[in-house]
């Protein structure tokens, strides 16, 4: 099976690097790193992805614009790729918004590399 390309959008460098490097050492999917939504948009412009884990916390609120861009098919990737989001907390309103956007999983703080690696494994299996 061809190696899958996954996208990780996470501002915290050590967590992001640890997940991407460990996935590589374990022969899992190739995880492409983006520290910000802007960097993720740049990657999405040039690369097709098979799944994504996206941090959505933004200045006390949530930024779902990247998720919308994906789901509306405004990237090279399929609009239906599996997506998980990272959020500090999640209330009913946010959960409804994420459901509406077909999010496969919500990961709440504390974020651990192990949790993200397990999540990428699950996303890779569809």
């Amino acid at each position: 099976m061809a190696e899958q390309n996954m996208l990780l959008v996470e501002p915290e460098t050590m967590l992001r690097r640890t997940v991407a490097m460990t996935a590589r050492s374990l022969g899992m999917a190739h995880i492409h790193e983006a520290a910000s939504v802007t960097m993720a948009r740049e990657l999405l412009r040039h690369q097709k992805f098979d799944g994504a884990v996206i941090a959505i916390d933004a200045g006390g609120g949530h930024d779902l614009s990247l998720l919308d861009q994906l789901r509306q098919g405004r990237t090279l990737s399929k609009a239906t790729i599996p997506v998980a989001v990272l959020a500090e907390q999640c209330d009913g309103t946010l959960l409804a918004a994420l459901r509406e956007r077909g999010v496969n999983r919500v990961i709440l703080k504390p974020f651990r590399a192990r949790t993200l690696l397990d999540c990428f494994s699950a996303l890779a299996q569809g």
Binding site: M14, L15, T18, M21, T22, S25, P110, R112, A113, L117
Partner: protein, 164 residues
Amino acid sequence: MIPAPTPENEAGRIAALYAALLLDTPREERFDKIVEFAAREFDVPIALISLIDSDRQWFKAAVGLGEVCQTGRDISFCGHAIMRNDIMVIPDALQDPRFADNPLVTDWPHIRFYAGAPLIQRDGYALGTLCVIDTKPRQFDDVELAILSTLRGLLMQELEGGNG
């Protein structure tokens, strides 16, 4: 207890350690961040960057040991871990004849679980370890080993890149 052994390349190793200019230096955020991350990631009370000097282990960064910044090399787990290239895992120190009556096991900080990744320079000298310690027995699976190995890699980038 089996005291920590001495590697064959000890003289060169100590020279390399001193040349790294790390011993007895102030705390640095870039190293503190790594042990804090490791403690959170593995949910352990203690995480260390331990440097093995001729007769002591000195902690460049530490979580969970309060004001303690060094212990004797003879009783150090890390002194054993630098004897190998791969990560040394002790699932339960009380069940391991090398450590069962070690004062770090029988007394504070009551080590039961230990996983230490040797910090080996490109020239082959092991300066110390990045290690995580628990006061309960536990296992480490392949993914956890890979994560600790990655953190060791990030630490070596800092040590050898000198991104201070």
